[in-house]
Every structure is written in structure tokens, then in C-alpha cells.
């Protein structure tokens, strides 16, 4: 589904290299986790894949469903079925959460040539999905993420994911800032979306999220590249021993 080949990226403003040849293949239905110390390039990878500006790809490629995506705009990538759950969801005063969700959903449908949802149809679906994530009607009416708690913001990300039904979901430290109960709720939301046609890339610092969202493959990222890959037990190894052994092995 998503194939990343020798991806090299630097910051646009300064010639600082962040990614040094990332190789990653994610097949349909798989859940991959990326772990790694601070500054290893995990979030940058998620931003570059979803099309945030400020980065320059110097080498390599990323193909999603057979299409080279690095030249596409963020909305085009989203319409192809790529979704990034933000580490820090952005507050947007003046834009209602419902308006935002409906505009996003209908923009994607339009670009895929699918008929847009009417207000009533949309409302029915969003209410049902919000209920599963314990998001109340009041939260839906408010401006996007404005005045939301950390947990509410993350649940709102998962709600967007549930509404947009992407094929490839990238979760950038979705567990950060969440208490145990909130993390469980978010993980349940993610697990409910797991299917043979949908893949996940879960970026996290901690193993505990992976207790709830059990990955097929775990990658360790350091210094802008993947230095080791393994099964779910690799995450446990990191949890017990930290990154130092793995980094020493790599160096």
C-alpha cells in the first residue's frame, strides 16, 4: 500500500538533513509502529508523507497505492486515502467542527467522483461515530479543537479518521498527553477501524500504546533512518532496555 524508498529529506530553510534514507513497506491491512528517541525524524516522516511544507526531498520516493505522492498537495494525498492524526491538533477559531468535518468529507468525495453527503445524512453518521468515541454534541458544535482538552483533541482526530475512512492512517504520537483511560478509548477507536484494506503507521515513544494497538511490525528509527525492524516484542525490548543498546549495535 505505502512504499517508501530511500527517502532523504532536509529542512527547506536551513540545509539540515532530517531523514537519511528511510525504507519502509507497508502492505494492506498491516499495522506498523515506529519508535525512536527524540529527534530521530519520526514526526518529520509523518509530515513529509502528508505534504506539510518546509521540507525538501533530496532523494528517494514514496508511492501510495501505486502513485508517487511526494509531488501531490496535502488535499490530493488526503483524497487518495492518506490520513495523519496530528500530535498537536490545531485550534481553528471561527470554523465550526461540524462544518470542517463535512467540508472535508465532501471535498474528498467530490475529488473521488462520489456524490456529496447531504446535511442530514452527514449528521446521522457523525452522531453515531461521535457517540462511540464519547464525543458529545456540544463538542461537535464548537470551533475546531478550541477549548478542547488534550484527550478531546485526540478523540477528535480519531473521529475525523472514522468519518474520512482513509486507507492509510498515520498516527503521530497520538498517545502523548493522554491518561490511561483516554488512551484506551483512542486505541479502541483505532482498533475498530482495523481492517484488511486499511493500514496503520503508529508513531510512538512508548510501548504502552502498543499494548492496545498491537502492531504487526515494529521499526526503530534513529538518526533519520530505520535501524532495526522486528515483531511486537521489539517494542518490549525498547521498553525494558531503552534505545542505548540498539543505538550501540547500529553504530
Amino acid at each position: 500500500m505505502l512504499y517508501i524508498n530511500n527517502l532523504n529529506v532536509e529542512l527547506e530553510d536551513e540545509k539540515k538533513k532530517i531523514l537519511n534514507g528511510v525504507n519502509l513497506d507497508i502492505n494492506a491491512g498491516e499495522v506498523h509502529a515506529i519508535m525512536g528517541p527524540n529527534g530521530s525524524g519520526k514526526s518529520t516522516l509523518s509530515y513529509v508523507l502528508s505534504g506539510k511544507d518546509g521540507y525538501r526531498v533530496t532523494e528517494g520516493s514514496a508511492t501510495f497505492e501505486g502513485r508517487e505522492i511526494l509531488e501531490l498537495s496535502p488535499d490530493e494525498r488526503a483524497s487518495l486515502g492518506l490520513f495523519l492524526a496530528f500530535q498537536y491538533p490545531v485550534e481553528i477559531p471561527g470554523v465550526g467542527n461540524m462544518t470542517f468535518l463535512r467540508t472535508a468529507l465532501n471535498s474528498q468525495r467530490k475529488s473521488r467522483g462520489v456524490e456529496e453527503l447531504s446535511a442530514a445524512e452527514f449528521l446521522k453518521i457523525v452522531r453515531e461515530k461521535a457517540k462511540n468515541l464519547k464525543i458529545d454534541a456540544e463538542m461537535l458544535k464548537r470551533p475546531v479543537n478550541v477549548g478542547f482538552s488534550g484527550g478531546e483533541k485526540k478523540r477528535n482526530e480519531i473521529l475525523q479518521m472514522a468519518m474520512l475512512e482513509p486507507k492509510m492512517c498515520i498516527l503521530d504520537e497520538t498517545d502523548s498527553g493522554l491518561d490511561v483511560d483516554a488512551m484506551k478509548l483512542v486505541a479502541e477507536g483505532v482498533n475498530a477501524l482495523r481492517s484488511k484494506d486499511r493500514s496503520f503507521l503508529v508513531i510512538t515513544h512508548y510501548q504502552r500504546l502498543l499494548d492496545h494497538i498491537v502492531p504487526d511490525v515494529v521499526h526503530i528509527m534513529a538518526d533519520g533512518k530505520i535501524i532495526k525492524s522486528g515483531g511486537a516484542d521489539l517494542a518490549l525490548e525498547v521498553e525494558n532496555n531503552g534505545y542505548s543498546d540498539l543505538l550501540a549495535e547500529y553504530n
Partner: protein, 425 residues
């Protein structure tokens, strides 16, 4: 050209009306002030950021592209429609003016009558607002405007009174002067829309009596050549309220002055404005709100979206006089630049002589938030649409100042139109 010569030339452009003695007296007083003070120029503190020569000149305005579509912005609102054409009242296009709770005359009729109610009001607020800042374009208006309405409201009027200014002559240059009195416990909504003229100087004096309400929504601009100066003078007695919102879409130079005098306890004055423009657009809101009594509230919410070399000016002042305790004064002015060529010049002022008040002001100038833009586009919303959503979100606080939801929707629709056109240009 020296100030006096210019003023003399401008004055000689108009003929002095022959009317009832009270009207002559008001006009002479205004003319006298204009002659001694002179028209504004760039050296005047209050005209530093907007070039007054557009309004001062005796040359004919440039030919304007006339857009008839604008005339109907409030068309779907159930309203009493009064039509002006190139600054002249048009009775045949207007609705019947004999209505319960409303007394309407044109000022040309009112000013001929010895005992018309407006005799004690015409030019009064214009005159009292000449200190501390001279507003001689308003004096010019009082001295020479022969068109306008004298409206007296004696009841709660449900239907808005809509004044539609048709613009059909492409070099028209007009003066319009309205006098509005809302009697005790009465209320009214006044809507203003339309192209007015190529160059216009419109003035409105509003007397809001005890426990009365004045609601005002105006839409101006449209063509890129439009030149307009407006003055809204309001006097509020106790327990009264006023709300005024202006949407400006394009124009060459548009200056809106507001002078609000709060002269009774427990009164409220809310002023709001949303302005969007590009190219040679210059739009200026100059505001003076004076709290003369305790326990009153005022708000100023002005937002401008500027693009492609446009200029936005905001000069807003709240004066809280000695004794006006428990005043709640608020002012915000914000400019959103859609490119690097535009400018926003703001001068927020507070002058407070009472010691138990809440007054705040803020002014910001910025560009579209890239983080928000990425967030929206990453969800599949195309760039142009995402930008529009953020522009509307920016203007939202100002639009929220309009109390009627259907009017808010109309204003929002006009702004969306502007944005769609923006993507095409």
C-alpha cells in the same frame, strides 16, 4: 493648493439651499465652521493615513463601473424599501412611506417646514462632534446636502427600513444627510445598501431616546473606483442601545467615521465592520466613542482582509469621562494580509478619567495561519477553499455583531462571492 483656496473652491461648487429659517441657521453654522477650519489635509493628525484629496477635489469622479446586482443584497428580507437614485430620492421606486409608528419625510420637504420635528435635530450631532477633532467633510454635508431622510420612529418596528442607493450615473457625486430619531421605547432596524454614487458623502445623525433600540447594517463598496466618506453620529440616552455593522467590499477610498456619545446610564453601543479589498483599495474606520455616564458598554470589532496592495486603516478611540464609572469598553481591530504588498495601519486609543472601569483594546496584523491551513488541507479540503474558510473565520467575530441571523447569512454570502472572484482574478 493652500487649504483655504481648496475649501473656497469646493464651497463654490454648491449652491446654498433656500429653506425654513431653522434649516438655514443650521446650514450657515456648518458652512461657517467649514470656511474657518477648512477641508482636511494630510497634515491633520486624523488624516495621516488616508488621502483626503479624493473627497476634497472639485474634479468629477472617474467613470465608475456600475453594478446593478448590488442593489438587491437585502432583496429577500421582508422590508420597507426606500430608493435613492444617484443621491436623489425616488418616490416611484420606493414603498409607501405612510406606516404606523414611522414618520418619514425627505429632508428637502422637512427643511421647508417651520415646525417640523427635525428642526431641533438637523445638524446638531454633526456640530457637537466637531470637537476635539474637526470633521469638516461632515460640515460640508450639513451645509449643502438637500437629499436624505428625516425618520422618526415612535413604536417597535418589526420590518427593517431598507435604504437602497441605486447608482446609475457613472460620474455622480452626491451628498446625503439623514436625521433619525427613535423615540422612547421604540426600535428600528435600518439597512443601507447599493452603489450610492461614484463619489459620495453620506451622513446619518441618530438620536436614540430612552429605552430605544437602533440596529444598523450597511453594505458599501463593490466597484474598485468607488469613493465614499460616511459619518455616523449617534446620541444615546439611558437604557438605550445601538448596533451598527458595515461590510465594505472593494472601493478606491472609503472612510467611515463614527462618533457615538453615550449620554445616559445602562446604554450599549456596538460597532462592527468587516472590510475586504484588493488592488488600490483603501478603507478607513475612524471611531470616537464617548462614555459620559456610568454603567454603559461599548464594543468596537473591526476586521480587514487585504490583498494585492490594499490598505486598511483603523483609528478607534474610547473616551471615558470622569464619573463614567463601571464602563465596559472593548475594542479590537485586526488586519489579515493575504500577501506582502498590503498594509494595515491601526491607532487604538483609550482615554480614561474614571477609576472603576473595564476597558481593553487590541490590534493585530498577520497572515493566514499556515498550521491551520495545513490541518485543513491534510483533511482533503483544497487549498483555495481552506484559505476561504480561514478568511471567513477571521471575519467571524465582526459578523457576529449583526443580531439578525438572515442578515448575517446574506453578509457571509457576499464575502464568499468576493473570495470566489478573488481566486479567478
Amino acid at each position: 493648493m493652500p487649504k483655504t483656496n481648496l475649501t473656497e473652491q469646493k464651497i463654490s461648487n454648491y449652491s446654498f439651499p433656500t429653506e425654513a429659517s431653522w434649516a438655514i441657521k443650521s446650514r450657515k453654522s456648518a458652512l461657517n465652521w467649514l470656511e474657518t477650519t477648512g477641508l482636511p489635509n494630510r497634515r491633520d493628525e486624523y488624516w495621516k493615513n488616508t488621502d483626503p484629496s479624493y473627497f476634497n477635489t472639485i474634479n468629477k469622479p472617474e467613470r465608475n463601473k456600475i453594478d446593478y446586482v448590488e442593489n438587491s443584497i437585502f432583496e429577500n428580507i421582508d422590508r420597507i424599501n426606500i430608493v435613492f437614485e444617484d443621491g436623489y430620492f425616488n418616490a416611484s421606486k420606493s414603498d409607501e412611506l405612510l406606516l404606523k409608528g414611522i414618520e418619514i419625510d425627505t429632508i428637502s420637504v422637512a427643511n421647508q417646514k417651520d415646525n417640523h420635528w427635525s428642526a431641533n435635530y438637523f445638524g446638531v450631532l454633526e456640530k457637537s462632534s466637531q470637537v476635539p477633532v474637526e470633521r469638516t467633510l461632515a460640515s460640508l454635508n450639513t451645509a449643502f446636502a438637500v437629499e436624505g431622510l428625516a425618520i422618526r420612529i415612535t413604536d417597535k418596528i418589526d420590518k427593517p427600513i431598507s435604504i437602497t442607493y441605486l447608482h446609475t450615473n457613472d460620474t455622480s457625486d452626491v451628498l446625503i444627510h439623514h436625521v433619525i430619531k427613535i423615540e422612547k421605547n421604540a426600535s428600528v432596524t435600518i439597512l443601507e445598501s447599493g452603489g450610492v454614487a461614484s463619489r459620495s458623502n453620506c451622513l446619518m445623525e441618530v438620536f436614540v431616546c430612552e429605552n430605544a433600540e437602533f440596529d444598523h447594517v450597511r453594505v458599501q463598496g463593490r466597484s474598485h473606483e468607488k469613493i465614499a466618506v460616511t459619518h455616523l453620529f449617534a446620541n444615546l440616552l439611558k437604557d438605550s442601545s445601538m448596533k451598527s455593522f458595515t461590510l465594505t467590499v472593494n472601493g478606491k477610498s472609503i472612510r467611515n467615521e463614527y462618533v457615538v456619545d453615550i449620554n445616559g446610564e445602562n446604554s450599549k453601543a456596538h460597532l462592527g465592520g468587516a472590510a475586504v479589498g484588493d488592488r488600490g483599495f483603501s478603507q478607513d474606520d475612524t471611531i470616537f466613542v464617548s462614555h459620559n455616564n456610568p454603567n454603559c458598554e461599548s464594543r468596537q470589532v473591526f476586521k480587514k482582509v487585504l490583498r494585492n496592495g490594499a490598505k486598511g486603516v483603523f483609528q478607534g478611540k474610547i473616551l471615558v469621562k470622569d464619573g463614567a464609572q463601571k464602563t465596559d469598553g472593548y475594542q479590537i481591530s485586526q488586519g489579515l494580509m493575504l500577501d506582502d504588498d498590503s498594509s494595515f495601519l491601526a491607532k487604538p486609543e483609550l482615554e480614561i478619567y474614571a477609576d472603576d472601569v473595564i476597558c481593553s483594546h487590541g490590534s493585530t496584523c498577520g497572515e493566514i495561519d499556515n498550521a491551520a491551513l495545513f490541518y485543513l488541507t491534510s483533511r482533503g479540503i483544497p487549498m483555495a477553499e481552506a484559505q476561504d474558510m480561514l478568511v471567513l473565520a477571521f471575519l467571524n467575530d465582526a459578523i457576529e455583531e449583526i443580531s439578525d441571523e438572515s442578515i448575517r447569512t446574506i453578509i457571509g454570502g457576499r464575502l464568499k462571492d468576493w473570495m470566489v472572484k478573488r481566486h479567478k482574478s
